[in-house]
């Protein structure tokens, strides 16, 4: 069980009064207090960790969010914001004395403007929901995390989500124009807007990826983009991981930035092929999925250049998709990778770290060694263009020893990422999962700097406690000097 902040005894003692207080602010059905209905909120996408919250509040408007926040602030109650609950780092894990503020009822699209190329949506709109709303006009919202059918834009903002196509289109932070926020005190704020580059401190950049530590996001203004004329994928398979890594370097060095450049190792290829029947090469040690876009003529030109580069690395096979259906099948395997691994192992931990791409062969080699040392299987799939690894560590949740080893294995992989010059996270956030590793990447001075920024927004540390910062460190710091 994950260690969290000690619940505040006075808050636990006032549970019924707090629920009654919330019911005065929201419609009857939008406050959950009974044990049976609280149960679904006890965990998120990192289901190894569970904690039933004090209560759940489900506001429908920014004003209701503000009322709940002001009330909780006045009462000294901790608040855990939650979108769809797809976090893989435990970012929405409740505390025993916290109110979970669920934004899933805020699911309206407020404005779409094709001339100015933006959409204003509430925080509970799903990622795919934005693209679906504009696809008839051949527009799309670019970041496409694997969970895009379920995950919500508010959560995407809080975790700065990426996706398979962020090599070309960037992560969430690069696709936002403005936010409507509610502070911990319950004030409503607008930052940015329908224009580029607000003057002054970059609050938009700071809030994005802040994991619910600074404020509650209720509305998001996103950039929408016109879809390309078309896109096409190809596969290239190699008999060794270092050779595939060298091929990635050669593609980028040639001046081509594919819209996606994905890497899978042998265990992952097998798991995905069994699931998607995409025609993945089962004899390969490593495989690249490379996607380009543009008109058919442009696709042919780019894929021709990429084939020439791949050919210099003695591929086992290369296969260029000949149709939209073939491209979709290729992506079905990749996007279903996590589920596919779930079919061969009852439980897995999906890790998320980033490394300089030049260190890839060495890092994957070391992960394979660790897999033998821990006696746990691992499948690797990652965004090769930007060095964002997603090792999937397979374990058996019914065996506490197996889970303990998987956690240790995961932690060691992330430390390795930092050792080679990378980061603890790519796109899943720190959450509870990696908070105790923060001291491995940051020294105390740096962590204190981040903690003081947190305190500037949330002086009493009521927002999403026990996440991001190592637990022993999470008492509000005094300002350095007054």
């Amino acid at each position: 069980m994950i260690v969290q902040h000690q619940p505040k005894p006075d808050v636990l003692a006032r549970r019924d009064a707090i629920i009654a207080g919330l019911r005065r602010l929201l419609p009857e059905d939008n406050v959950i207090g009974d044990a049976l209905r609280l149960k679904p909120y006890e965990t998120d996408g990192l289901s190894a960790y569970r904690q039933v919250p004090l209560a759940v509040a489900l506001p429908e408007t920014t004003e209701q969010v503000a009322a709940v926040m002001a009330y909780c602030h006045r009462e000294g109650v901790r608040v855990v914001p939650r979108g769809a609950g797809t976090s893989l780092s435990g970012g929405a894990l409740p505390l025993e004395d916290a109110v979970v503020l669920g934004l899933m009822k805020m699911s309206r699209i407020l404005e779409i403007d094709y001339a100015d190329r933006l959409a204003v949506v509430q925080a509970g709109v799903t990622n795919i929901g934005i693209t679906n709303a504009v696809s008839a006009h051949e527009f799309f919202y670019a970041p496409d995390p694997s969970s895009q059918l379920a995950c919500m834009i508010g959560g995407n903002v809080m975790m700065n989500s990426g996706g398979a196509h962020c090599l070309r289109y960037g992560v969430t932070a690069n696709n936002l124009l403005g936010l409507k926020l509610v502070t911990v005190e319950g004030e409503i704020l607008e930052i940015g807007g329908a224009y580029c580059d607000a003057a002054g401190y970059d609050w938009l950049g700071l809030i994005t990826g802040s994991e619910g530590q600074l404020a509650i996001v209720t509305e998001v203004t996103v950039r929408i983009l016109r879809s390309p004329e078309g896109q096409r994928a190809m596969l290239a398979a190699f008999d060794s991981i270092p050779v595939a890594g060298a091929c990635v370097d050669a593609i980028i060095s040639s001046g081509i930035i594919p819209v996606a450049l994905e890497f899978m190792d042998k265990p992952c290829i097998h798991a995905c092929e069994d699931f998607a029947h995409a025609g993945y090469p089962l004899d390969a040690e490593a495989m690249l999925i490379i996607e380009v876009e543009g008109s058919v003529v442009e696709q042919d030109d780019l894929l021709g250049r990429i084939r020439e580069i791949c050919a210099q690395f003695n591929p086992i096979s290369m296969k260029v998709s000949q149709s939209v259906e073939e491209s979709l099948a290729i992506w079905k395997g990749r996007k279903g990778a996590f589920g596919a691994v779930g079919r061969i192992s009852p439980d897995y931990l999906c890790m998320d770290g980033t490394i300089p791409t030049s260190r890839l062969p060495e890092v994957l080699g070391r992960i394979t060694e660790m897999s033998h040392e821990f006696g746990l299987g691992v499948a690797n799939v990652f965004h090769a263009g930007d060095g964002n690894l997603h090792p999937l560590i397979m374990f058996d949740a019914n065996d506490p020893e197996s889970f303990r080893k998987a956690e240790k294995f995961g932690g060691d992989i992330l430390k390795l990422c930092v050792d080679v010059g990378g980061c603890l996270t790519g796109e899943h956030g720190v959450g509870v999962e990696k908070r105790d590793l923060m001291t491995y990447q940051f020294n105390p001075i740096e962590l204190n700097q981040q903690r003081r920024v947190k305190s500037a927004f949330d002086p009493e540390w009521l927002l999403n406690p026990s996440k991001v910062f190592p637990l022993e460190d999470t008492t509000p710091p005094a300002m350095a000097a007054e």
């Binding site: 403007d113 001339a115 100015d116 190329r117 527009f139 990426g162 690069n174 004030e187 409503i188 607008e190 930052i191 807007g193 329908a194 224009y195 580029c196 580059d197 607000a198 003057a199 002054g200 401190y201 970059d202 950049g205 994005t208 990826g209 802040s210 530590q213 600074l214 016109r226 879809s227 370097d249 980028i252 001046g255 930035i257 543009g294 030109d301 780019l302 980033t354 300089p356 791409t357 030049s358 930007d386 060095g387 964002n388 010059g421 990378g422 980061c423 603890l424 790519g426 990696k434 001075i445 740096e446 700097q449 981040q450 003081r452 920024v453 500037a456 927004f457 300002m479 350095a480 000097a481």
Partner: protein, 400 residues
């Protein structure tokens, strides 16, 4: 003036200023000293001696350099590898009457982005990591040297565009991209601003990956040789990529925009010259003693800002970012500044007084005040980095 030779010397100097509670004017080479609010400080510190490339990995699309490194040196290094800085860093030296080179720290601290901002993001989108010294004299790192870099709170974004008021950057890691093989610009002559912005919206909403979109009224176009021959206003959309793609897309875009008028296609050399001019605001017909503003609004609102300020004080102007960035020149008076602020606020946008006499820049809000509760949070964030308010006090806003 003190110019530390190492990050350790920088930290020591700031630590001493902290102990003495004495404000420090922090700058690189001073090329932007004539913008934002003037700083009154007992001490001054230049990062010019913190110079040099620390790391360049073309295949990983990143470089790291010390903050005092001249931008020209970085651009030359990237060009030798057919790469470039993504946000098309502008150089306002001519506009600001500066003869000193821009430094990397200066362009990041000022958070300035050029024409490519609308397609591939702002400077802040490409800052992957920083090393910096805060107002306590403590050295801090944020981000890293990888393309997905955010672990914990994103201090990199906060420092970008903070004009040295939170911490002094000592080293910066930026993402770069391959430079395009070829550029072309589709140019339509003779449109009025409203029609021009509609054409630019159609171009930016096309599937042809337009990378920059600007409108120069006749007076502005006449100042740029690459388009002056078109005689009149010009509406401009740039495409940049591999040669076959550029030829194909420019041609398609020209036919898609036919309803707006016959278009010329400017070649690679003309496009380079044209967009360098747009980037550096050369088309702006500003008299020597005029003030200069940048107003950012939603693109469709750009023509209304232009019309309002023409009526108000006969503003000279041009538009970049598809209409979203309006460059304005006019008299350096409180009245003109009030009119610019009002026009920006009416459209829900933002402004920056980029150039003006010290007296004007000291007296007015060179950028908008923080909205509502952000005033309090902003002051606390400043205190979280610089508790004694010694770093460039008052540079962005009076009293902060």
């Amino acid at each position: 003036m003190f110019a530390p030779n190492s990050e350790a010397e920088l930290a020591q100097a700031i630590g001493e200023a902290y102990a003495a509670a004495e404000p420090v004017w922090v700058y690189g080479q001073g090329s932007k000293a004539q913008t934002m609010r003037p700083v009154q400080a007992a001490r001054s510190l230049s990062t010019r001696n913190l110079s040099g490339i620390e790391l360049y990995s073309p295949k990983e699309l990143i470089f790291s350099a010390k903050s005092g490194t001249p931008v020209s040196e970085i651009e030359a290094m990237l060009a030798a590898n057919d790469q470039h800085m993504i946000a098309e860093t502008p150089d306002f030296s001519a506009l600001l009457g500066s003869t000193t080179p821009q430094t990397l720290g200066g362009v990041v601290a000022a958070g300035l982005s050029g024409p490519r901002r609308i397609s591939l993001g702002a400077t802040r989108d490409h800052v992957m990591g920083v090393r910096a010294v805060n107002g306590l004299g403590e050295t801090i790192r944020s981000g890293g040297r990888v393309l997905k870099n955010v672990t914990g709170l994103d201090i990199c974004k906060l420092l970008t565009g903070s004009h040295g008021t939170l911490a002094v950057m000592s080293e910066i890691t930026l993402k770069v991209l391959p430079a395009p093989e070829r550029r072309a610009t589709v140019a339509i002559a003779g449109l009025d601003p409203v029609r021009a912005v509609a054409a630019l919206a159609a171009a930016l909403g096309s599937p042809y990956a337009v990378s920059a979109a600007a409108y120069l009224p006749a007076q502005a176009a006449a100042r740029v040789p690459a388009v002056a021959w078109l005689q009149g206003s010009v509406t401009l959309a740039r495409i940049e990529d591999f040669t076959p793609s550029v030829a194909y897309r420019a041609d398609r875009l020209r036919s898609d925009l036919a309803a707006f008028g016959a278009a010329e296609i400017l070649d690679d050399a003309a496009s380079r010259a044209l967009w360098a001019a747009v980037r550096d605001a050369q088309p702006l017909a500003a008299a020597a003693d005029d003030a200069v503003w940048r107003v950012s609004v939603r693109p469709s609102a750009g023509p209304r800002v232009v019309a309002a300020l023409e009526a108000e004080f006969g503003a000279a102007s041009f538009m970049d970012w598809g209409g979203g960035l309006v460059w304005i020149a006019g008299p350096a008076t409180d009245a003109a500044h009030d009119a610019v602020m009002a026009a920006a606020l009416r459209e829900g946008g933002t402004w920056q007084l980029l150039r003006g006499p010290d007296a004007l820049r000291s007296a007015v809000a060179v950028i908008p005040p923080e909205p509502g509760a952000m005033t309090r949070i902003s002051a606390r964030v400043k205190q979280a980095f610089d508790p004694k308010s010694i770093l460039n006090p008052g540079r962005m806003r009076a009293g902060l």
